[in-house]
Amino acid sequence: MMRVTLMGALLAASVALADESAADISRKARERGALNLVGLTAELKLVTTGADGKAREQVLSSSSRDIGGKSHALARFSQPAGVSGVAVLTIAGEQGQGDDVALYLPKLKRVRKVAKSDRGKAFMDTDFSYADIGSNGTRDEDTKRLADEKVEGRDCFVLSGKGDESSPYGEVKMFVDKQTYVPMKVEYADKAGKPLKRYRTLKLKQFKERVLAAESLMENLQSNSKTQMTVLKLEDSTLGDDAFTERALERG
C-alpha cells in the first residue's frame, strides 16, 4: 500500500513537474515575445505590407511590467502622424476572461476600452492582434510540451496550447529557443483549426544578460498580409507601477 502511494506521489510529482516546466517555458517565452518586454522599454518599428504590396510604417515605444502577478503592457505610438500620441494599455485578464485593453485617444483626450470581441483583431492595423501584446494566445498552465525540434538551426522546446474563449486562436504551437527562451516560431490556427498566422524571429540580439527578438515577422496566412517588427532601441525601463495605469496613458 505504501509502495503504491509512494509511486503515485512520485508520478503525480513528475507530472506536476512536467506541467510546471511547460508553463515555465511558456511564461519565459511570453516575456521575450513579440511586444511584451518585461522590465524593458523598446522603440519598435512595425512595417505592415498588405496583400496588394503597399507598406505602412508605424513607430511605437513598448514597455511591460509584472504588477500583482499580472502582465501589464504599454505601447505608445509616435508615427505616423495620424496615430501619434495614441497609447494602449493591456492588462492580462483572469483565466478565460481575456485581457483588459484601454486605448487613449489624444484627439478626444479620453481613454476608451477595446471590446472583448475585438481583442483578436488587428492591433492598430498591423498583423499583430491586441491579444498578442499581452500574451501568446494561450494560458501558460494549459500549455503542453511536444517533442523538441530545431528552428533556424537552434534547438527549441515545442509547446502546444489551446486558446481560451477570449483568445482569437484555436490552437497555438510555439517553438521556443532552449538557450534564450525566445520564441523562434509560433503557428496560430483559428478556432476552426485552419492556419491563421505565423510568427517568426528573424534576428536575435543580446541586451545585457538577455537575448530578445530584434527582428520578427508576423504573417497572416488568410489575408496574405505581414508585419515586420524591428527593435530600434532598447533600454531598461525606469517606469514604475503608476505608469501602467489608465491615468498615465495621457502622459505621452
Binding site: S84, A115, R154, D242, T245, A248, G252
Partner: protein, 504 residues
Amino acid sequence: MFKVSWLLLLCAAPAFAQDDAGVDEPAMQVEAFESFEEVVDAGSSLTVAPVLEAFESKPWQPTVRVYGWTSAYVALDTRFDSPRGVALAENVAEARLKAVLGVDVKLTEWVRVVLEGRAQVRGATQRDFDRLKGFFEPMLGDAYVDLYTSKVDLRVGNQRIPLGANAALAPADALNPRDLRESAGEPEDALLPVFAVRAQGELGQLSWLAAYVPFFTPHRLFVFGQDEGIAQPAFGRSLDNTRIDPSVEDYLQDRVLETQRPAPFAGDLALRVLRKGRVNVGASWVWMNEKLARVTMDRELAQAFTSQAAALSVLNRAQSGETLYRGFYGRQHLFSAEGSALIGPGQLDVDVTYSPRQTFYDADFNPVDKQSITWVASFSQASDSPVLYSLSYLGMAIPDIGAREQLMLLEPATAAGAPHTAFFHLFIGFIGVSLWDKRFELSVRAAFEPVQRSFSISPRVTWQGVEGLKIFASAEFFEGNPWSPFGYFSRNDRVLVGARYDFF
C-alpha cells in the same frame, strides 16, 4: 557581475557549437543591441556579446515630438435664399483654413511641457459678393506643464479637462468653452482649451480629479452676420446688420452680448471620482460660470434699429443714465453621475446631471432661471470594424415652466398655456462604412429632435489614399419649423469640399 556573465556565455557557446555540429545551416547568431567589439570565442560558431559597459542603458534623454495639422474647406450654399442687403442675410459662400503646430517635450519621466499654437482664417460672402468679410484668428492651444508622481499627476496651463462619460455630449463636460462657430468639424474640435490647474490620481480602485479654472473664458460665437449666428431671421428682433461695416463686424461679436465678466480667480471648480471596474461608475460636481452671456435687453432698445422714434427714446434714456442692456455670466452648479461599460462590440456611456439653476431664454429672448435635469446615453463602437457607428440620446427636463412661458428652441409654441415641465429629446446617430483598406469612407451623421420634428443630416465621403492626407466632400441640411432647434438654421444648407493633412 559582468565578469561572471561573460564566463557563463563563454561556457555556453562551445556547448551550442557541439549541438550544431551536425547541422548544415549555421544557427541564427545572437547580436548585441549596442555597438560593441565582436568577440568570437575560439572553437565556437556563436558570436557573443562581451559584457562591457557598452551594454549599460543610456541615461535618460529628453524626447521632443513636433506635431501639427492643417485643414481647409470651401462651402457653397445650396439655396441663395436672401437677396442683397436684407437684414441678417445669409452667407452663400465660405472658406476656412485652420492650422495647428505644437511641440511636446518630455524633459524627464516626470516632467513634460506642451506648447501649441493654433490659427484660423475665415472668409465669407453674401449673395453677389456683397459684404465680403473675413478674419484671421491666432490663439494658444494646449500649453501646459505636467508633473507626474506615483500618487498624483499635476497639469498647469492651457488645457482640455474632459468630464463625464460621453465624449461629445456629457453635460458635466462644461469647464472648456466651445467654439460655436464650428459646424463642419468633429464635435471635439469645437472644445477650446482654458488655463487651469488640474490634479488627478488614484486611491485603490478609485480615481479622482480636481480642477480649478481661475480665469473666465466664454463660448466663442457669432451673434449676427454669419450662418452660425444666434440671431437668425426667425429671431424675434431682427437686427439690421447691413448698417455695420463688415470690416469690423467680426471683431465686435465676441463682447457684443456682455457688459460684465466674472472677476479673475472667481472661476470654475470641478471634482470627479470614478470607480473603475467592469462597469465604471462615477460622480462629479462642477461649480462654474455659465459660458454664454445672460442677456437682459430693454424692449425699446430692441426696436431702435427699425424705429426712429424708439431710437430717439433710447438715446434720451441712455443720456439720463438708464441701464438698457445687461449681459453677465450666471453661476451654476452641476451635480452629475456617470457610468460606462463594454457591451458586446460597443461601449455604453451614460451621464445624468442636475443643475439647480440654469439660464434659458423664453420666446421673447428674456432670460429665465430654471432647474434642469439632463441625461445622455451613447452606444459607440469599441471594436475595429469596417462599419463605423454611434448612437446617442440626449434628454432634458426643465420643470416649473409658467403658463405664459415657452423656452426658446427647446419647445414648441403649443407648449405654453398651462404650467408644465418642458421636455427636450435629441437623437444623434453616425454610421459609416470603411472600404478599400480604410482608404475610402462613406458616412452619414444625423440628428433628430422628435417633439418639433426638426432634423439635420450630413452625408460625407472621405478619401485617404496618401498617408496623413484626408480629402472630403460633404453636405449639411437642416429642416424643421423656424423655431425648432434645426429649423432655426434651415436656410443654411450647404455643400463642402475640404482636406486635412497631418504633417508630423
